[in-house]
Symmetry: D2
Subunit: 355 residues, 4 copies
């Protein structure tokens, strides 16, 4: 039994823990050989891989990043299967055979799962493992990496809190998440943000300004705003995509946090500053939650291999580790539902979503 | 509308976050007055309380401990309702009336919930909030405080790992949990323990010794053992409770970790050391996960009050915040199931439970 | 005895610990009354202050920010004493008398010390306490706040390391410090940076590019660059200040990290990304080192008051807490010496300064 | 040029950072070959070593423990040179020659330095590097590992603070340090302890009890006591060593914290609990301060080798890295001076030393 593993897309805490979970369970329950494929699908296309030794999975549980390396999607455009893409898919199939793999375990986010599904449809035995700090993979309650990123972003907000209060400033913290606001929502609630702005709930800058004014009336001269990098205003939401992009090019600041801070300084008398923690949100050792989840996900992948169940991705549903068919979840978005219990809870403790 | 709040039992991270959640939601959705009862049920018995101001709930989201103070159960023996207990229950009912409460929110663990149920049966409007680092309250997937304690215990194991490896020692880390092994199980998995010993899975010390010997054969001269303070050997498990207690009194070391370390030093050639992090596992700022969960729990309590739904405790089931009847969960244990998915996952990555 | 305290300039970890040190020592050894002046010198100008109670100094040792609030320098231009400044100085002297202060303790950085010196020259009893994450106050080995900021910036670099390695990228991390590179130097060394760029050592971008190329030859496809926000190129260093500013306005990116990343992407084949942790470097709970140092500094200020020794600022020299005359240190820069032992040590472990 | 390195005594954060510093500077400035000696002097006695490759020093800056392994002193009794010791010294000299070493770098604490001095007197080229969390090596302001241990112990006290306040308890935290109280002093001050008990300042338990009583009078019903594991009472201090040991055997609790807690419960009405964090104080990743110091120490060792300066150990004096003669510092204690500035500062903020 030969199992190929690759990690694809942006790195995220827990990748190594999941790799270790697959490997240890595969060694113990399947007596398998593990093939490590370098730098994501690129390694599968180029035939860049190595046969792993058991010792290589020791001591990696706590390590950030991925020992296998990673790269972004190999395809320029997933929707149109251009000639270039056909060649790449062909190369992946050939290398899968050349490596004599019995199955391929692909750890990644949405892009990774689309490619995994494509390879599955082409007849390869593929199992996905849902990693992403964005928590936006359909069919799983949580992806691994998410809670670590929440911890990091929350720590940033905690630190900013003291500087905001000392200087009586409004601090706008831009948190990762282009299409889904999960990370901003959780970190905002955990960090005690006064305003949370998400891609899923377009904001009205006047309403945000009002929050600052009302807080000032209560003697609170500082405000914490957690904004997802993909947050959009109600005006923008009403535009077509191209119009929106054009409008963004024209405005003074590219980053949404800087744009919002500039607007708020005009609408209120409050000094505004921005913080953009960026890539640090996806780095470093996974938190305990993610280590356990990644391990369970990895072990479940080995179980699916043992059962010969392919074309699926591992998932957490309620308290159970289970799986979904790749065909059912690839490309399906998982946004924050504005009417969900957790958004309502946030509103009930007076957090404004700017709407 | 007057809402009384108390925190009872051992303190745990997230209590203040939950208190803040109840208060902010109650102020916003019920325009209620919050009465803070001092030091748990003791304050209800003694009439020791204060009317809270809104500002008192500011800045407490991130704070460990409880601003209301806490104390252990007011009753010596819950099973037999002695005269003393009758007096105390009577005092609590009288003070509930004297404070003109419309309801009482009690944050605590198993003991707290038993008393909450008793007061509910006596006709008071009671709502429970399940806090405990032990995660052993029936009917909820997780209690708040648990994941913070897992983080802390995992950090301890991480630190011990380097000293274990440098000195080629076996380190036995004793983790809180007398009746339930959840904390040890999660921290052990997250910390990469080689052996995990739980109250729910009696161990055979010879088998644990064998793990050390087998690791030495593979060139691994250190071993990490995570043991719950309530772990028991198979011999002890076969005894009656009194016999077991007598046996424990006779042995050289009271703490299970020290007892095990001494036994392993006799059975193997490996130097063994113990670490007992103790109370630090329940202190300090809650992790992001617990801040969000506590907040959601608190808000849900306010919603239940609004709906006039009493005699219940808040719970997390799957991804939803819901509630259980106090009568259904009070006094019901929630041990780790030895046949559960997570225990099997641990076994599949070669973690030994010593059985 | 009435002691006024104010905190001025950017907030920084340890301010509250130092305030507590002054207050507790003043209460115990001088039986003094403490007057808290709001928002830095602005409070002294406006007469915005309160008599503090002992309890207000409880529980603040671990708190980031400043319980007194802060503001930037009250003067637009320190060099020319404009009419406006004369009025402000007059107001400060009047309020000092109106508050019946026996002395003023001013916690702050370089700007704060210049104003402290000015007030001292005007006849007020002033004692300075050197806080700044920049560590650029002349005459003290370390300022408080510095080591906490080093910890934070190092943690950022640690997290970025895993993402850099996984993606084979060059990560450019922009660390606070406009005029002095201490924070970047220490965090860069602690975080294992390959390149450290400081205001004190102008860099040649071609040499930096060469580091990337040489690492690639050794099979290391990622590089960590720690750059101070005030780092300058050798070309810029040769310009006059106005020319330099004009040149910066013209270039594509304002932030030095983004500018460098863009240049390196042109000069090499390596993908470059930037991280700008910003204000989080000055927030949150002080590290143990800073708590002890702040406390010692605060206690020493109380001792100086007792000894009637004014017109000085507290300092750490070697292992001893001592003081310097404000007149000797105000306005004196304390840059990193390119020939110092620590810079040489960094060079000896192959860290490049791009020169 | 062949340089042997070994780490001896209890492991401590920064060992790997220092090893890396020596190696990188030695490779760069001396083009040396590094020989890693396994498990301290034991490896020198047994000839257990390996020629290191450059890659082995990559990625270890942040790692706790020691990649070389360590062991306690090879001698049973340093004072009497028994026959066994003579044989061991002979073996070390022979292996030094067999390995063709030009010098030996020994990283360790007091025991390590005594042996280093002995080997130096026997004619070997030896350089010491002062590591210990106890900070008790004569002639250096700080050892590496110390500030990391202070951070860890402070974090423990921080966590205990919330539980102490919530339960109105006295918490007695036992901190490492048998002969020297530096770690307890610094962590106690950083953690806001009310009482600090050190080996250097014998305590009177009645005075400690009085602190609890006086705090209760002020409405503070909790107390934090930081006690060094080697703290002694005034009664014990008056005894001869054998008497003292006999007295300790008789008392109910072996650990000083438990002994003190039991005594205080008898003398006061306050509930007391103990926490003994133990080995976790010496584990895990070094803090930024220690990473920089260790690196500088390592680089300085390489410089001493280049200069042919042997029979010395590296030291921090004031702000400079320098060296002391092994003969001058080996076996010389470095206790906390009860009359030092820092102890006085602690007293001035009302910390009691129980004397």
């Amino acid at each position: 039994m030969r199992i190929g593993i690759l990690t694809s897309g942006g790195d995220c805490p827990g990748l190594n823990a999941a790799i270790r979970g697959v490997a240890r369970a595969a060694y113990q329950t399947l007596d398998a050989e593990i093939i490590g494929i370098r730098a994501g699908y690129r390694g599968l296309i180029d035939g860049d891989y190595q046969i792993m030794e058991r010792g290589q999975f020791s001591g990696i549980l706590t390590l950030g990043g991925t020992i296998l390396g990673t790269s972004r999607t190999p395809f320029r455009n997933m929707r149109v299967v251009e000639e270039d893409n056909v060649d790449k898919v062909y190369a992946m199939k050939m290398n899968y055979k050349a490596m004599k793999l019995d199955c391929l375990v692909a750890l990644g986010g949405n892009g990774t799962h689309k490619t995994a599904n494509l390879l599955s449809e082409e007849g390869l035995n593929v199992i996905g493992l849902p990693k992403t700090i964005d928590n936006d993979i359909f069919g799983t309650d949580f992806t691994f990496g998410f809670h670590t990123a929440v911890d990091i972003a929350t720590d940033v907000i905690d630190r900013i809190h003291t500087t905001a209060a000392s200087h009586s400033r409004c601090m706008v913290i831009e948190i990762m998440g282009n299409k889904a606001g999960w990370l901003t929502l959780y970190a905002g609630m955990a960090g005690g943000a006064d305003v949370i702005l998400l891609p899923e709930i377009p904001y009205d800058i006047e309403r945000v300004a009002k929050v600052l004014d009302e807080r000032a009336k209560l003697g609170k001269f500082f405000t914490i705003i957690a904004v997802a990098e993909g947050a959009i205003s109600q005006e923008e939401a009403a535009m077509k995509k191209k119009e929106r992009e054009a409008a963004r090019t024209e405005r003074e600041f590219y980053n949404v946090s800087q744009h919002i801070a500039a607007q708020l300084e005009q609408l209120t008398n409050v000094e505004c500053r921005t913080v953009i923690p960026g890539h640090m949100q996806r780095g470093g050792s996974p938190c305990a939650y993610d280590r356990v989840l990644s391990t369970q996900f990895g072990v479940h992948a080995a179980k699916l291999i043992k059962d010969g169940q392919f074309g699926v991705t591992v998932a957490l549903v309620g308290n159970q580790i289970t799986q979904n068919r790749l065909a059912d979840i690839a490309g399906v978005p998982k946004p924050v539902d504005p009417d969900s219990q957790i958004v309502k809870a946030a509103r009930n403790i007076s957090i404004s979503f700017g709407d």
